[in-house]
């Protein structure tokens, strides 16, 4: 079953009055439960694509459907609600709130739901448990290592149980060991919790954790042979 269907997608920016085309007529489908690694040279539009899948950027033309619903033409307010309900973001630099501790950071998406404080506590505990960082719940981001911060960020991304995780260079700022453990975690979320994961990475070793690799080059996808 397809989660995403992209039809005839184009994205253009105007730079100094001149139109720059990132994609032109891109068609793509992403199946429910897939784990895709997107590779490609810098500036090829990987982040731009991820933004559009996550509803934080819009295509210049073409359509994006997620579970049969057009998201490219939703109003800002509806798009906010859609993001809250459907996607979890994981960023290269974690994007944690420095003034909140781990548990409070993880709680943020739950504040957009109708859950009671008690239910929120349970969800937070579960999410922190899944990423194996329960013992650091009261720690602030500056008291955590990069790998630990990324785990907190993953817990935040999954706490409201979204279908999709969108990861932009999730291991870009981590050493090999931390990177591997984060990637194993993503693999686990994909295989055990059936999260659809779309991960942008520069690192071929990271890409090997995905079910399939796509290369984005000059606005076109070139499928690589599947990993694993």
């Amino acid at each position: 079953m397809n989660l995403y269907t992209l039809r005839d997608l184009s994205k253009r920016y105007s730079r100094g009055g001149e139109a720059v085309t990132i994609f032109e007529g891109l068609n793509m489908q992403i199946a429910q439960g897939d784990f895709i690694a997107i590779m490609g040279p810098s500036g090829s539009g990987k982040t731009t694509l991820l933004n559009m899948l996550g509803g934080i950027d819009r295509p210049s033309s073409g359509t994006i459907e997620c579970q049969g619903e057009r998201i490219d033409n939703l109003s800002e307010a509806r798009l906010s609600k859609w993001r809250a309900a459907h996607v979890g973001f994981i960023f290269q630099f974690y994007n944690l709130m420095p003034t909140l501790n781990a548990a409070q950071n993880v709680e943020l998406p739950l504040l957009l739901t109708k859950l009671s404080p008690k239910q929120r506590k349970e969800h937070i505990a579960t999410a922190l448990d899944i990423v194996g960082i329960s013992d650091r719940a009261k720690h602030y981001p500056r008291q955590l290592s990069g790998g630990q911060q990324q785990r907190v960020a993953i817990a935040r991304a999954i706490v409201s149980d979204p279908k999709v995780l969108l990861c932009d260079e999730p291991t870009g700022d981590l050493d090999r060991v931390s990177a591997d453990s984060v990637l194993e975690m993503l693999q686990l979320l994909n295989s055990k919790l059936n999260k659809t994961i779309i991960m942008v990475t520069h690192d071929p070793a990271a890409a090997k954790y995905a079910r399939r690799e796509l290369r984005l080059d000059k606005g076109r996808f070139i499928e690589q042979e599947s990993a694993q």
Binding site: T47, N51, G54, I56, D57, E76, A77, S80, K81, W82, R83, A84, A85, F89, F91, Q92, F93, N95, M97, T99, L100, L108, P109, L111, L112, R156, D168
Partner: protein
Amino acid sequence: MRQTLAVTALNIKSIPQRLGMSLATVMSVALVVAVMLGFMALTNGFAATLNNAGSEDVAIILRAGSQAELNSGLSRDDVVLIETAPGIVRDAEDRPVSSAELYVVVDGIKRSSQTEANLPLRGVEEGAERLRQGFTLVEGRMFAPGAAELIVGEGVGREFQGFDVGSTIRLGSNVWTIVGKFSTGGTVFDSELWTEAGVLQNLYQRGASYQSVRVKLDGPEGLSQLQDYAENEPRLSLDIITEKQYFADQAVGMTRLISAGVALAYIMAIGALAGAWNTMYSSVDARVHEIATLRAIGFSGGSAFIGTMLESLMLAAIGGLVGAIAVYVIFDGMSASTLGGGFTQVVFSLSLTPSSIISGMILAIFVGLFGGLVPSIRAATVPLLQVHR
């Protein structure tokens, strides 16, 4: 709602990162509110004193063109002519209810600063108290005719030293005995010393001259009857106005000063507004990345707007409270004295009314609201792509 609270909490938690600026904003708002409330307290106190002072049914009669009692001069003959005029209430013995008065300026020592300040020493005639609404002798007795005795207004006792009932005091070359203390309920007369007119004329070599005559007007027509009479009497050249009008005229200068003070507060408010704006702009600036992240998670633009606005309002409200408390602690209930119309001290209480505190808080909120507006709009419209830094 919950997301708005969360965003607001995030804003507030990040204040320590901009502590200096936030404090400066609080203090500038506090200063604005303090200046405004300070001047309003002056206005309230001054207005209370002068409004009480002026009576509609008492006319004050001065030599034409003299404007203030101190510049006026009336002879015994003038007074006699005035007292036969129509429009004046007469008592059971058919005597006019009037008081021919004069006054001189003496020096007293202020309790607060131990410095000399002017005090009016007024010579009055029997019945003067009937021309002051609410006159009561709160301590001692009236001065005796012909004696160097004084009764002192309550305000004088409060603000100046050496005027306790029973004591004697040297004023210029004369020694006076304080025999009583009177109150007119906080009016301008409470800042005066009273003795018998004849005694004052004697001790200060004034012959038989006076400076003013106060008369009780007989009904609403009284004033015009009196004025008509004076105009048609070639031996008289007088200004006749109600006492209320007289004090209102005297108050104009002071009122102007106070209005200028309030205007100053408003101008300062614009400065504080710019400060709040700048602080909130930095607040948003420092958190663009955070705000974008929250928005990506699904927080609404509205919550980012309200969070920033509430931070701004909170800083301003704290500033307003600090300003109000400062003014309250320093000013409320304190007496101030100022140069009144006759170049003498008018003692009046500064009063901080609930309504002026509310006005001060409204001004503070206004500063917070408009200072926070543009930064809040900016917070609500932070580009989502800022999540990638």
